[in-house]
Each structure stands twice: as structure tokens, then as C-alpha cells.
Symmetry: C2
Subunit: 251 residues, 2 copies
């Protein structure tokens, strides 16, 4: 699905935006040397982006503007799974007091659509829009477990199986074993794989035709989640929330 005739100028613009996002506000010269472009080229791109609200000038530095939030927010708002799941994720967070999340798959990566914090929630540095490898989170595993095997292989090939921590899944075989277990149980678990001491439990959201639309999770410190909770009351709540979403989507 690669572009046969990529628009190079557009790619330069996008590279600039991403560089600006990663480095935070910075100046023309710095961007030019980082991206091997001339100063005038960088300047032309930045002023063009600024004219349309995608970039702002703060003194002598440029930074990415909130226009991206407008486009992205609009995109999210128009997704049915978000509209339906949003209140459920919020009440899941309120009921458990922990951190609840909603993730969807896009281009083989997981994208957080939202997070809701209960009264005792841990504060992870996730945010709406953040991308993550699917195999590294309970949310992602809940989704992968409900994709066709061929699709999972495509995703592995495209994005690899990077190990975030020593506990992470590192091989195709290991992943497929885990996914099989997820299918049997109906939910996915992350016990300290992503972050030491953090336990997550995620359930898939499936359409009536069996296609997976996303996943809902609760993340909590291990100190508050006993082994019994992890396979007893907690899955019940998360699965129930996911089920409500499924029913509302399928009418």
C-alpha cells in the first residue's frame, strides 16, 4: 500500500511537523540542520503551515498549533466506537476508581482514543492520540486476539515485536500462544509487562459480525489488584462494560 508517486514536498512538510512535535518549540536553523534542508525551505514550509493554523510562532521559535487537535478531534468524534464507548469508559473509571482506557487499531498500531481517571487512578503518561505497539499492552492483545491470523502476521512484519521491557513478548510463537489464551478467557492481561508494578486488564469490543472494533481496559497498581481480582471481579466489570458497548453499537 505504499504510495507509488509520493508527493515529496508534502513529505517534507510532514517531517517538519513531526520533528517539531518531538523536539518541542524550536527555531528555523535547528530544524534545517536536523532535517538536512535549507533554511529558506524550512522557513517557507513553516510560514505556510502557520497561515493555516497548523504551526504557531512563539517569539523566534515555532511550535505545533492546535489545528491538529481540531482535525483529530473531529475525526475521533465521528467514530461510532468512540461515541458509544465514551460514557462506558468513564463510568468504568468512576466505578473502579482506577484508570480506564479505550484503544483502537489503525494501520497496525494501537491508538488511545481516550482515558478516564477514577478517584484513585494512577497517572500514566498516555494521552488521547498516543500510538503504541499492539503486542505490548493488554488492550492491544485483546485486539490482536480477535484479528485473523494473516492480519496479525502482516502487523508483525510491518512493525516487528520490539521488547519494551524484558517481560515483553518477543517472538511470534510466544505471541500466538498468548493470543490463544486471550481468546479462551475472553480478556487480556498485562501483569507488569509495560510498567513494573502495573496490572492491566482489557476486553475487546466486537461488532455483530465478529469484527473487532477496539478494546476497553482498566489499569491499576498491583498493590490494589489481588490475584483473585485479576481473574474474578475485575474481568467481570470490564467485560460487562465492553458488552454494553457492543449492544449499543449493534442496536
Amino acid at each position: 500500500m505504499d504510495a507509488k508517486h509520493p508527493v515529496r514536498t508534502t513529505e517534507k512538510t510532514l517531517a517538519l511537523v513531526e520533528e517539531l512535535m518531538e523536539k518541542g518549540p524550536c527555531g528555523v536553523t535547528e530544524l534545517a540542520s536536523d532535517l538536512d534542508m535549507g533554511k529558506s525551505a524550512v522557513h517557507n514550509h513553516l510560514t505556510t503551515l502557520q497561515k493555516h493554523g497548523y504551526v504557531l510562532k512563539d517569539g523566534d521559535d515555532y511550535r505545533v498549533g492546535l489545528k491538529f487537535l481540531e482535525v483529530g478531534g473531529h475525526s475521533r468524534k465521528s467514530m461510532e466506537v468512540y461515541q458509544v464507548a465514551e460514557p462506558e469508559v468513564k463510568s468504568l473509571a468512576a466505578d473502579t476508581g482506577e484508570l480506564a482506557n479505550l484503544l483502537v487499531e489503525e494501520q497496525g498500531m494501537g491508538v488511545y482514543l481516550m482515558r478516564a481517571k477514577g478517584d484513585d487512578a494512577v497517572d500514566l503518561d498516555t494521552y488521547a492520540g498516543l500510538r503504541t505497539n499492539l503486542h505490548t499492552t493488554a488492550l492491544g492483545k485483546a485486539i490482536l486476539a480477535n484479528l485473523p491470523e494473516s492480519r496479525v502476521d502482516e502487523i508483525i512484519e510491518r512493525h516487528g515485536l520490539e521488547q519494551k521491557t524484558p517481560k515483553s513478548i518477543g517472538t511470534r510463537q510466544e505471541l500466538f500462544q498468548v493470543l490463544e489464551a486471550v481468546r479462551e478467557r475472553g480478556y487480556a492481561i498485562d501483569d507488569g509487562e509495560r510498567l513494573e508494578g502495573l496490572r492491566c486488564l482489557a476486553a475487546p469490543i466486537k461488532s455483530s459480525s465478529g469484527e473487532v472494533l477496539g478494546a476497553i481496559s482498566v489499569s491499576a497498581p498491583a498493590s490494589r489488584v489481588s490475584d483473585e481480582d485479576l481473574h474474578g471481579s475485575l474481568p467481570e466489570r470490564v467485560l460487562s462494560a465492553a458488552n454494553v458497548v457492543e449492544l449499543n453499537i449493534n442496536y
Copy 2:
């Protein structure tokens, strides 16, 4: 501040994205005729955007992807006023049971950074990232009232004073009278200007140097907000929330 040497190719890409956002998912031919471009040009741009995650192909249609949410979310997350105000807006919504909002000014427009819903909150079609004319909302008026007069004039010149409803502010003189009243009171009110039957109350967030950083509001149906509330207990709560944010920002 216009671009002296705009990158036309980039502008075409951005026009495509915005058209795609407004019309929702659609095909190459339709976009091409809407934007007076050749089909091949549209196709090249779309595949380029797709390659980088900014656009997706759904069957034969294209739609904007969640990459915009990633960039926009990152940008929002890195704003100090958001980080500090977010918990306050949430507790304001929880305490009042109504809809609470956070708005900042960017390029003369108001941008909603977040909204939080209390238990009885009305459901407006605002969303994080949405842009609005500053003079049409209580939030915007709270901000305008704390900008230098020259800046307000620039904004009027750039964006006009479009009247959303017959009650809207329509002239410069009228606006400045209202802003003077806002400065005296310390908070701004919208009594059905934006939407019949909806009352909003907003307070500015100012830095220690007096610069306005944004505004916090509560929106509620008129049926639940008496005239006494509107000038008594409600302003107290909103002003208090704004004040907490100011203290936390200025350490």
C-alpha cells in the same frame, strides 16, 4: 504575518485534509471536482498522507486518520495551562453536575482544550479542538476582556463579528461595552446568545504578569440556573476554580 512564499503543494495537501474532514469519508473523484484538481494529483496527495498515517483508505473511500489526534494530543499535553487546569475543570464539572469547559485563544480564535461532563450535564456538540469565534461565547469574552484593546481590534479585523444568533454581539462598540462589564465583574456571561435556553459563565485564567492564558466555564440549561445563581453561587465556584489554576501555574 502572511507567508511571503507559500508552499503551494503543501497548501493543496492541507486543503484536501480539510475538505475530507468536512465532507467525511469520500472518494478521489469527488475531492478532485470539489477542489478543482486532477484526479491523479488528489490520488498522489492522498497516498502520501496515507503512508504517514494522516489519512486512511476505507474500501474505496478515504478518511482522515488518527495521526492528527496524536500530533494534536501531544501539543495539548505539552501546554502548561492544560496540565494544570485539567483536574480543576473535571472537579468543577463533578461539583456542579454541569458541563465545564476550558478554552484558549490561538490566532484570534477560541479553541476548546477539553470539556468535562457532570452527572446532569447538557450534551453540546463541542469537542476538544473545536474552534469558535471569541465574541460568541462566555469563554471567549472572558479572554477578550483581558487582552489589550489593540489586540482585540486586530482580532475583530481578522475574523469579523459574525452573528451566530440575533442575540449575538454584532458591533465593535457593543463588544467593548460588554468587555468592560466583564472586567468589572471579573467573569463573563452568555445568557442564551449561543443557544436558546443555555446559560454559560466563564472566568479568565491569568498569569502573574496579568497575561490571559485561557478561560474556564460552566454551561447549564436556564431551567437549572436561577438569576441569583447566575450572579451568586455559580460565579463563586467558577472564579474559585480559575483562581486555583492561577495559583498552581504561578507556583
